[in-house]
C-alpha cells in the first residue's frame, strides 16, 4: 500500500473510532444526566406531595381513613387544592399496606410486576422505569403514614422526552459524524498527498540517478521541515556522488594516459634499439655507421634506465617519508639556485629572489627535488635573456607561500590540468631535446601530496607560468 494511502486510512479510521466512541460516550452521559435530573425532580416532587400530605394530615380527622372513597376525597383536596401542585402532570396512586388500590389516577394497564408497590420501603424512595404504550414512565414509591396507618404512595411521570432527546442527539451525531468524516477524508486526502508528493518526486529522481543521470536534482519545496532537509541533503549527496564519479572518470583517464605514455616511452627506445641492433647484425656497416648505431643503442638504453630510475623514485616518494629536518627556506632556495647556476648562465636568465626567511620541518632532500624541478622547468620554458622570479612569504593564515614565475612559452589552458600527470609533455619534441621524460612535475605533485603542500599553476600561452606552493603552517616552525 502506498504511503499516502496509509496516512489517509490510518488517520480516517482512528478519527472514526475515537470520534464515534467519544460521541457515543458523550450522548450516553448527557442522556444519563438528563435521566438523573428528571428522576431527581420527580423524587423532589414526591417529597413535596408527601410534605403537603403531612401538613394536611390534621384535615384527615374529618375523613374516614378506612374508607377508600373518603381517603380519595382527602387526597383530591390535599393534592389538587393547592396551586403548588398544578403545573407539570404527575400521576398519583395510593395503595394500602396489603397492596390494594386506595386511589389511582393512573389509567394505563401495567402487565408486569409492580415491584415499586410490593417492595416499597418506609424511609427510602425507590424508582422504576417502564415502557407503556410506546412511552417511558418513571414510578417513585415509598411507604407513608397517614393517621397512624401505613399506605404506599406512588407517583409516576412521563419521561419519554428524555429518550426522544437521546434519539435526536444520536441522529444529529450521525449526520455530524458523516459530515465531519467527509470533510476529514477530503482534508486528509489533500494533506497526505501533499505530504508524500516530495517523497514521490524524490523516488522518481532516484530512479533516474540509478540509471546514470547524475545531473538530476530535487526541486526544493522551500520548507524547513524534515522533507525540506531531506531534499537538501539528497541534492548534496547527489552532488558529491556526481563529483566523485567525475573524479573517478578523470583518474581513470589519467591512468589510461599513463599506461599509453609509459608504453610509448618504453616502446620508442626499444624500437630504436631493435632497429639498430638488427642493422648491426644483418648489414655490413662501415666503422662510422657501426659507431653511430652503437651510440644510438647506448643512448636509448640509458633513456630506458632513466625512465626506470625516475619511476622508481616516484614510487618511493609515494611509499615513504624520508628524514625530517628543520630547514631554512632561504637556504634551500640558495642551494637550488646554485645547482642551477650553469643552466641559468647558459641561457642568460636573470633570477630575482625575494624570500622571507622561515624555517620548516620537512624532508630537505625532497623539498630540494621539488623546488629544483620547478625552477628547472621554468628555465626550460624560458627564452634566452629572460628572467625568473622566486618569492617566499607568509600569508594572513601563517601558511608559507612560495611562488616561481617565469616569462616563457606558457602552457595551453587545456593542458594545465594534465601537466602533473606522468609522461605528459606539452611540447614533446622540445622536452625530448632537453632529455626530458615528462616525469618532473609528476614527482613534484607526489612530493606535494606527501607533505600536504598545495600546488597551483597559473599560465598563459606565450606570456609565462606562475607556480604557487602553499606550505601548511603545520610544517612551519620558528625554532632553530
Amino acid at each position: 500500500m502506498k504511503f499516502w494511502k496509509k496516512i489517509f486510512l490510518y488517520s480516517v479510521i482512528l478519527f472514526l473510532v475515537l470520534f464515534s466512541g467519544g460521541g457515543i460516550i458523550l450522548i450516553e452521559k448527557i442522556h444519563n444526566d438528563n435521566l438523573q435530573t428528571i428522576i431527581s425532580s420527580a423524587m423532589y416532587r414526591y417529597l413535596n406531595i408527601k410534605s403537603i400530605m403531612d401538613l394536611n394530615a390534621d384535615n384527615l380527622l374529618d375523613f374516614d381513613i378506612n374508607n377508600n372513597s373518603s381517603v380519595q376525597k382527602w387526597i383530591e383536596v390535599t393534592i389538587n387544592g393547592y396551586s403548588m401542585n398544578k403545573g407539570e402532570p404527575y400521576y398519583i396512586e395510593l395503595y394500602s399496606e396489603d397492596n390494594k388500590v386506595v386511589m389511582s389516577d393512573f389509567d394505563m394497564y401495567i402487565t408486569d410486576e409492580r415491584k415499586e408497590i410490593t417492595e416499597a420501603k418506609k424511609d427510602e424512595l425507590s424508582f422504576i422505569i417502564r415502557s407503556l404504550d410506546n412511552k417511558k414512565y418513571v414510578f417513585i414509591s415509598s411507604i407513608i403514614n397517614l393517621k397512624n396507618k401505613e399506605f404506599k404512595l406512588i407517583i409516576s411521570k412521563d419521561i419519554q422526552y428524555v429518550y426522544l432527546h437521546k434519539n435526536y442527539n444520536y441522529k444529529f451525531f450521525i449526520v455530524l459524524d458523516f459530515l465531519i468524516f467527509i470533510i476529514l477524508a477530503i482534508g486528509m486526502y489533500i494533506i497526505s498527498k501533499n505530504l508524500t508528493n516530495p517523497l514521490v518526486k524524490l523516488s522518481d529522481i532516484s530512479k533516474d540517478i540509478a540509471k546514470g543521470d547524475y545531473s538530476k536534482r530535487v526541486e526544493k519545496t522551500n520548507t524547513t521541515d524534515e522533507i525540506g532537509v531531506l531534499e537538501n541533503n539528497f541534492n548534496i549527496m547527489i552532488g558529491v556522488i556526481e563529483n566523485n564519479i567525475e573524479e573517478l572518470k578523470f583518474l581513470n583517464e589519467s591512468k589510461q594516459r599513463f599506461i599509453d605514455s609509459l608504453n610509448h616511452e618504453i616502446k620508442t627506445p626499444i624500437t630504436s634499439i631493435i632497429g639498430y641492433s638488427d642493422l648491426l647484425l644483418k648489414s655490413k656497416l662501415n666503422e662510422d655507421m657501426r659507431v653511430k648505431a652503437l651510440s644510438y643503442i647506448n643512448s636509448e638504453a640509458k633513456r630506458l634506465e632513466s625512465i626506470n630510475s625516475t619511476l622508481l623514485k616516484l614510487i618511493l616518494i609515494r611509499e615513504e617519508k624520508d628524514e625530517m629536518t628543520n630547514v631554512n627556506m632561504g637556504e634551500i632556495i640558495s642551494n637550488v639556485t646554485s645547482m642551477m647556476d650553469y643552466k641559468l648562465e647558459r641561457k642568460n636568465i636573470t633570477l630575482e629572489i625575494d624570500i622571507e626567511d622561515r624555517r620548516a620541518y620537512v624532508d630537505k632532500h625532497l623539498i630540494i627535488v621539488l623546488i629544483s624541478n620547478l625552477i628547472d622547468n621554468s628555465i626550460k620554458a624560458s627564452d634566452e635573456n629572460s628572467s625568473i622570479v622566486i618569492k617566499g612569504y607568509s600569508n594572513e593564515s601563517n601558511n608559507y607561500i612560495l611562488k616561481i614565475r617565469d616569462y616563457g612559452m606558457g602552457i595551453p589552458k587545456e593542458d594545465i590540468d594534465k601537466v602533473l600527470e606522468p609522461f605528459y609533455m606539452v611540447d614533446k619534441a622540445r622536452t625530448r631535446k632537453n632529455n626530458g621524460i615528462g616525469l618532473g612535475l609528476s614527482i613534484c605533485s607526489e612530493i606535494c601530496k606527501v607533505y600536504n603542500i598545495s600546488i597551483d599553476i597559473e599560465s598563459q600561452l606565450n606570456t609565462g607560468t606562475e607556480i604557487t606552493l602553499t606550505f601548511n603552517k603545520g610544517w612551519m616552525t620558528d625554532e632553530n
Binding site: 444519563n32 431527581s40 401538613l55
Partner: protein
C-alpha cells in the same frame, strides 16, 4: 521515539477505556432502584429541617384567624367572606413551606390574609385590603411616634418582638388603591443590629395596621 508513540497510544486507549468504564449507563427498564443509586438526588437538600414543629393546615387557619380577628380587630363576619388556603415553598429557603390563608368578601369589597411559616409558625406577612372604620377625620393630622407605637404594640407583643432593640424609620404615603378612596398611610421600617427587619403600614385615618411584612425585600 517509537517507545514514546507506543506509550502515548496505550495511554490514549487507557483513557478511552477508563472513560467508557466511568460512564454511568442509563437505568434499565423494569428494575427497581433505590434513591441511593441516583447520584444527583440529595434528599437533605429538600428535607424539612423543622419537622418536629410542623404547623399543619388547621393550626395555620387558627393562627391566621386569631391574628386578624383578635389582634387586628378585623370583622371577619362582615360580607360573608370565603376562606382560601394555599401552600407554597419559600423561594429562598426551599426546605420550608409557607401557608397562605386569606379571606375575600362575597362582594369583593375587601380581603385580608396571613402567611405563616409551616415549620416555625412564624407570621411572615399580614395584608388587609379594606376600607377600615375612620377614627381620625382630619386627613392633615399626622400620627405621632407614640401613637404609632401604641397602634402596633398589640401585634408586636403577640409576635414577641421587643421593639427596644429596633431602630424605627417612618415615612408618609398616600394611596388611592382601595375603591379610589384617598388614604394616608404611615410606613414604619424596623431594623435591629442583627439586620433583622420588618415593616408595618398604618392607615392614618383608621389608626389601624393595614400591612405587616417580615424581612421586606421591597418597600410596601
Amino acid at each position: 521515539m517509537k517507545t514514546k508513540i507506543i506509550i502515548l497510544v496505550l495511554m490514549s486507549i487507557g483513557i478511552f477505556l477508563f472513560s467508557v468504564y466511568k460512564v454511568e449507563y442509563p437505568y434499565k427498564e423494569g428494575v427497581l432502584y433505590s434513591q441511593n443509586q441516583l447520584s444527583r438526588y440529595n434528599e437533605k437538600q429538600y428535607e424539612n429541617k423543622n419537622n418536629n414543629n410542623l404547623v399543619n393546615r388547621n393550626e395555620a387557619i387558627k393562627i391566621a384567624t386569631y391574628i386578624l380577628r383578635d389582634i387586628l380587630d378585623i370583622d371577619m363576619t362582615a360580607g360573608n367572606p370565603a376562606m382560601y388556603v394555599d401552600i407554597y415553598r419559600n423561594v429562598e429557603k426551599e426546605e420550608t413551606y409557607n401557608w397562605n390563608i386569606w379571606w375575600t368578601r362575597n362582594d369583593y369589597s375587601g380581603s385580608y390574609g396571613v402567611e405563616i411559616n409551616s415549620s416555625t409558625g412564624e407570621i411572615l406577612n399580614i395584608y388587609i385590603n379594606d376600607i377600615m372604620p375612620v377614627k381620625n377625620t382630619n386627613i392633615s393630622t399626622e400620627l405621632t411616634n407614640e401613637e404609632i407605637l401604641t397602634i402596633i404594640k398589640p401585634l408586636t407583643d403577640q409576635l414577641e418582638i421587643n421593639l427596644d432593640g429596633y431602630d424605627l424609620k417612618i415615612s408618609s404615603r398616600v394611596d388611592y388603591n382601595i375603591k379610589g378612596v384617598k388614604t394616608p398611610y404611615k410606613y414604619c421600617l424596623f431594623k435591629n443590629k442583627n439586620k433583622e427587619e420588618f415593616s408595618i403600614m398604618i392607615d392614618s385615618r383608621a389608626e389601624a395596621i393595614s400591612r405587616y411584612k417580615k424581612n421586606p425585600t421591597e418597600e410596601v
